[in-house]
Amino acid sequence: MKYADITKFWLPRHVLPFFIFIAGFLLLMPVEVLGDTESQESHSVSLADVRRGERFFKGLLPFNREHQACASCHNLSPTDTLNWNPSAYELAQKFLTRDINEFRNAVMQPSGAKMTASHQGFVLEDEDLGHIKAYLDDMAMKGPESTKPTFFNLLIFLGLGLILTWALVEMLFLRKIRYKFIPVLLFLGAFGAQAQMVITDAIRLGRQKAYAPDQPIKFSHAVHVGEQGIDCMYCHTTADHSKSAGLPATDLCMNCHVLIREGTNSGKFEIAKIIESHETGDPIEWTRIHNLPEHVFFSHAVHVGAAKLDCASCHGPVEEMHVMRQHSDLSMGWCVNCHRDTQVDFNDNGYYDTYIKLHEQMKAGEIDTIRAVDTGANDCMRCHY
């Protein structure tokens, strides 16, 4: 799972279907074959049961169903669109250790409002439920379905390289094609496309603007900040006095969620994870979004505590984000240019009394504002040491 999130960024938006087909075909085939042999040996449940359960899950069975397929709400693989429902794999993991009765109860007699609404009118035989559970158990053992292959870009790049080489050879030596513009155009096109790929990747190198990885809990800032109006500092308590803003400890979540056990969007499933973490003592491993390189020493305290910056000026409209994402590109240029524009609280913060000369100049009217850069905010050793 670790690198899957990165691959999303590497996938080109203009992928040729052809390549997808070939590569997908090549990659998925062996996985299927391998999976079969493993499951036969390791389970008492027959492969046929698992297969049948899969068909049910994917909506191929029963033939005349009136409700939606499981898979239409419970994703089989990560998607780009927001899906509040637990994914198939999450379900599989959750119910792996529970028996069929619990599973049946969860599916057929749902408890929360959201689930009740969506699980209405299910017509499923116990046997079929057993098959579905077998399928899910199988999935939980095997891990989630593999994500899409990652090296299209490289293939395209190499392909372009071939075209380019051929066009060059043709232009210079072979001269088989009558119309000279054909190799020239091919050359320029291929070269341009390659250059574009290199440049975009080079720019993206180390930048993660709009990075929005999947989190272990579908925690929505839009709900908590936007709808509920919780202050940032309620959860990120140390932002104004420590370098790190701090992730809320699970017991902080429990302040509210000791009562609130069901969400409007996600139902009970996601909140149950917090409660579980609280009970078992296993911390939640969030995926870090705002990653600065390790030679950068950023301090929230000085920006929030001393400079009184608004969180949104760097983190953006968090109150609108269901899936938290990186708002700013966090490049050095971004930092430095902000320091060039941002005024400091020069007269009111007693720390700046040290800057006697600047105060004199200000009094004399030689300068009217002091910006962060004037007090050395763009020195190397403000952030790198």
């Binding site: 210079l172 030596f173 720019i203 930048r207 590109d329 490049s331 050095m332 240029g333 971004w334 430095v336 240019n337 763009n378």
Partner: protein, 461 residues
């Protein structure tokens, strides 16, 4: 214009027709490759391979695989860099200064000198890259717009000047050399019988035909390049010298360095040219083009430069005493002349300032073997000069607590051997695949030398 004088003798010996000139100069390209060439090439490639292995070790393990330390931060790599750059000066200096001075005898030699320049500068260019702690980040030195603010470079740094100068020098000397060869490539294209050669040389000839329009612009181009490259010859090594002269280290911080370096560069360059042309004469029987008088002329130039070098050394010694700076005095007298590095100093002094004085004797100038040996000695002497400048100054600077001696590790030596291999391989390639002497230029000086024969077949082979 005087093409043939009583004093100098004819520029080309043996009455040769234009066609003969072409054949003879192109003979090494057309003929079967001699065995010694393969042998020499294999040796060079072996040296190069060893060098590449040492480069691999350096890149894989870090600069720590060299013999440097906290006090002596630059060692053989920089010594070799300056040395190669110096050698690389000869080509341009030869072509340009002699062009400006209207010395027509240069025509027989300048191609070889320029080729040598290009290969030597390539060898030199390797070192600044290799001696970096993180060579994969060398692009930081380009002032390009970036996402860091943008963070530019430091225009005050001699290393940045150096970087610009070396880049300029390698590009300019290579294009100068290449455009000089274009008409000759056309000659090969039109005279060769091999189809492959015709295609390859035809490609490199850029469609040259020798029309008056081409020659007209070609002359204009030569004029421009000649003019500005003359500035370059002086500026590049002056800038290399600022790598040291701008430093605050005693033994480096001196204003004599720019002219001293330029002269030194020309000195080592001419010596290397001498080495090369004596080999050309010996190996390829080019005696008719590179005549005794050519050798003689280079030798005379070397006497002159050697005297300047001697003066420079004496000046340094004098200034170390006269300036009254205890640090300078200590470097020159206690470290260089009579200290741990006395051998290197005296090797430099004798090889550069004393030995070339033998050229005063005509008997010496006439004996090609001795000339060849002296040219090698000068090259070694110039290497020691760079060693003296770089290392003795660093190892005995201001605070005696930091004094530390330096000796190279075998990896460093291996890289130097590798560049020697690269140089000889490049020169051998040049012998084999490129006309060693500028045919069109030789023809232009040969024109009044030659009887008016009409039927020259010129197929001597």
């Amino acid at each position: 214009m005087i093409y043939k004088t009583e004093i100098r003798g004819p520029l080309i010996q043996g009455d040769k027709s234009f066609s003969q000139i072409s054949r003879e100069i192109l003979a090494p390209i057309d003929a079967k490759t001699p065995m010694w060439w393969y042998f020499a090439m294999a040796t060079s490639l072996g040296m190069l391979g060893f060098g590449l292995y040492c480069i691999y070790l350096t890149l894989a393990n870090g600069i720590g695989s060299w013999g440097l330390n906290n006090s002596v931060g630059w060692g053989w790599a920089i010594v070799n860099f300056v040395w190669w750059i110096g050698i690389g000066h000869a080509g341009t200096a030869f072509s340009i200064f002699l062009l400006i001075l209207r010395q027509q005898w240069r025509t027989a030699i300048n191609r070889a000198a320029e080729a040598m320049t290009v290969v030597a500068v390539m060898c030199a260019g390797l070192f600044p890259l290799l001696h970096m702690g993180r060579p994969w980040l060398f692009f930081y030195i380009f002032p390009y717009p970036n996402t860091r603010g943008p963070l530019w470079v430091n225009f005050n740094s001699p290393l940045f000047w150096d970087f610009v100068a070396i880049t300029a020098y390698i590009l300019i000397s290579a294009s100068f050399w290449y455009f000089g060869m274009v008409p000759d490539f056309a000659t090969i294209r039109d005279t060769t019988k091999s189809k492959i050669k015709k295609a390859v040389y035809g490609f490199f000839a850029f469609g040259w035909t020798g029309s008056s329009r081409e020659w007209l612009r070609y002359e204009g181009l030569s004029f421009v390049l000649g003019g500005i490259a003359a500035v370059l010859v002086v500026s590049v090594h002056s800038i290399v010298s600022t790598d040291f002269a701008v430093g605050v280290i005693p033994g480096w911080h001196t204003t004599i360095f720019p002219p001293y370096f330029v002269i030194g560069a020309i000195f080592s360059g001419f010596a290397m040219v001498l080495t090369l042309v004596t080999i050309m004469r010996g190996a390829y029987k080019m005696n008719d083009f590179i005549t005794d008088s050519h050798i003689d002329a280079v030798c005379r130039v070397l006497i002159f430069i050697s005297l300047i070098m001697g003066t420079a050394y004496m000046t340094e010694i004098f200034m170390a005493w006269y300036s009254g700076s205890i640090y300078e005095y200590s470097i020159i007298f206690e470290s260089r002349m009579f200290g741990d590095y006395a051998f290197q100093f005296w090797a430099m002094f004798v090889a550069n300032a004393v030995v070339p004085q033998l050229f005063w004797f005509k008997a010496v100038r006439k004996r090609i073997l001795i000339v060849f040996l002296i040219s090698i000695i000068i090259n070694i002497g110039m290497w020691f000069e760079r060693f003296n400048i770089v290392i003795t100054s660093l190892s005995r600077d201001y605070l005696p607590a930091n004094w530390a001696n330096y000796s190279p590790s075998w990896v460093e030596v291996g890289i130097f051997i590798g560049t020697l291999g690269l140089f000889t391989a490049g020169v051998l390639m040049f012998f084999r695949y490129i006309p060693m002497i500028a045919i069109s230029e030789v023809k232009s000086v040969a024109k009044y030398n030659k009887p008016q024969t009409t039927h020259q077949t010129g197929h001597h082979e």
